[in-house]
Symmetry: C2
Subunit: 299 residues, 2 copies
């Protein structure tokens, strides 16, 4: 991945940010807070790497990367609300709802979602209807009750489930896997993947999503009794009875699970590489983001 990818996405995120019209100051502040304080932009960078590789026009690639990142941002804004995870901080700053109130936070999330749909619509506008229908169906299933929305609902009612590793994984696939799938599948649509390639890509996104969520779970547990203690938004999973692989399997088994998932992802990438050179960017992403993330929570 080119070193300027991060800067390129950061500036696209600001440029495409909703709210260039005259709006209420709390809503404007919410939008600025989030757009001005990005995280690692993992999903957006994956979109950009894929879009560049599959020959998507530069502007369309950036719009697609922003769309996926805005969906992600909106889900973070809403997940942090008092009625959801009741978080105090996000990316080192107070959460938007603590600064500007719940109403502005909900409306800010909606503004990002609305802009994300528009950007996806613009990015795909020139492509054949078959591709657009696939993209529309993909958004419908990844973000609705069978994806992000359903995953978050299941997350909140985890205490009433059987609290098994299987239940934890099902939620992680819907919450974390869905956005990886959007990030990979959207640009891949332009590469006309075969049925075998599609199946492998889907499996890869599930491995990545599960590995990412499990590493996040481990971090929650590892840091609960250490430096994160006293910070309201961390180590919350236990208190809130939220799905956490390290709680249901134990830390050691969760670490083994992550190592296994990373290995499965790597082998899936190798199979894709064997089918076509166009999937080589997946290996680059895996080495740059997935392996270090897994390494950070290894024993």
């Amino acid at each position: 991945m080119k070193p300027d990818a991060y800067a390129r996405i950061r500036s696209a995120l600001v440029e495409n940010c909703p709210g260039s019209v005259a709006i209420n100051s709390r809503l404007r502040d919410t939008l600025s807070l989030v757009a001005g304080n990005p995280g690692k932009l993992v999903r957006a960078r994956l979109v950009l790497a894929a879009a560049d590789r599959h020959g998507l026009e530069r502007g369309a690639a950036e719009r697609l990367a922003c769309a996926v990142e805005y969906f992600h941002i909106a889900s973070l804004l809403l997940d942090d609300l008092p009625c959801m995870d009741d978080a105090a901080t996000r990316r080192g700053l107070p959460c938007a709802h603590r600064l500007y109130g719940e109403a502005a936070t909900i409306l800010g999330a909606l503004a990002f979602i609305n802009r994300a749909y528009a950007l996806a619509g613009f990015a795909f506008a020139a492509y054949p209807s078959e591709i657009r229908l696939h993209a529309t169906a993909c958004l419908d299933s990844c973000l609705g009750p069978s994806g992000l929305v359903g995953g978050q609902a299941a997350d909140l009612s985890f205490a009433q489930s059987d609290r098994s590793a299987r239940a934890v994984s099902t939620i992680a696939v819907r919450k974390t896997g869905a956005l990886f799938w959007l990030a990979v599948y959207f640009p891949a649509l332009l590469a006309a993947p075969s049925a075998v390639e599609l199946r492998l890509l889907k499996a890869l996104c599930i491995y990545w999503g599960l590995a990412y969520q499990a590493a996040d779970d481990l971090q929650d547990v590892m840091l609960d009794g250490n430096e994160r203690a006293g910070d309201g938004d961390f180590g919350h999973d236990g208190a809130l009875i939220r799905p956490n692989l390290a709680h249901v399997l134990g830390v050691s088994a969760a670490r083994s699970r992550i190592a296994r998932l990373v290995g499965q992802a790597f082998r899936t990438i190798n199979r894709l590489d064997g089918l076509s050179r166009q999937w080589s960017y997946l290996g680059g992403f895996h080495h740059e983001f997935v392996e270090p993330m897994a390494g950070a929570v290894a024993a």
Copy 2:
């Protein structure tokens, strides 16, 4: 408008409702509550009348009608939240958040929004990219900070504005006019309207939106001291310092304003009728919905 339009939309709303997958029971209950208790379906019926007239295929017409209605439903779910209008009842039943909690209500609204975008995408899929680009841009501006989201944010901070009739109207155009515009403009896109026709359609939606919102404001004030008293979600505008034309102008001037707006809408429809017979359904809608609504709040 055909007498079966209402039944046709009701069944399409249930059929297209998100949540056919296995989901959390509170989310499912929220979706069922709303889809099973529709209001007058004014916007959806306008879409259907327009789509049928402009020759949109029957299934696509219903999908578009559902899309606009789902956007409307989502805005009602969110507007009623404690951090917004803190309403107790909606359409004669307890609000979703009072029955199933705030989290399920927010996620339910997102599910409807997500499905609405998908339905709009499917409805337009077969049309030329120029039409689709217009539709995408229209959704972007009608629902984002320059439309519904911005209008709701301004609504909530009305107390900090100059509280003028002009400020009230600006908010009404963004909140109420935007959905009328979607309802009229979406199907009209297929009729390839001229620039003059588009300008008249836009003006019509503003008149309708302002008249509708003003009638709602008047009802809030008229019923505040009467049968609605004691019901937590009515007559709230005054207590919450929300925009209300009858508060800033007085009841009598607000009534005159509504009568004037209804007249302006009627004359605009006549001008459109003079340009092409394809706009005749607008007059039918005006007589069936707008005039009775204005009559209900007349002295």
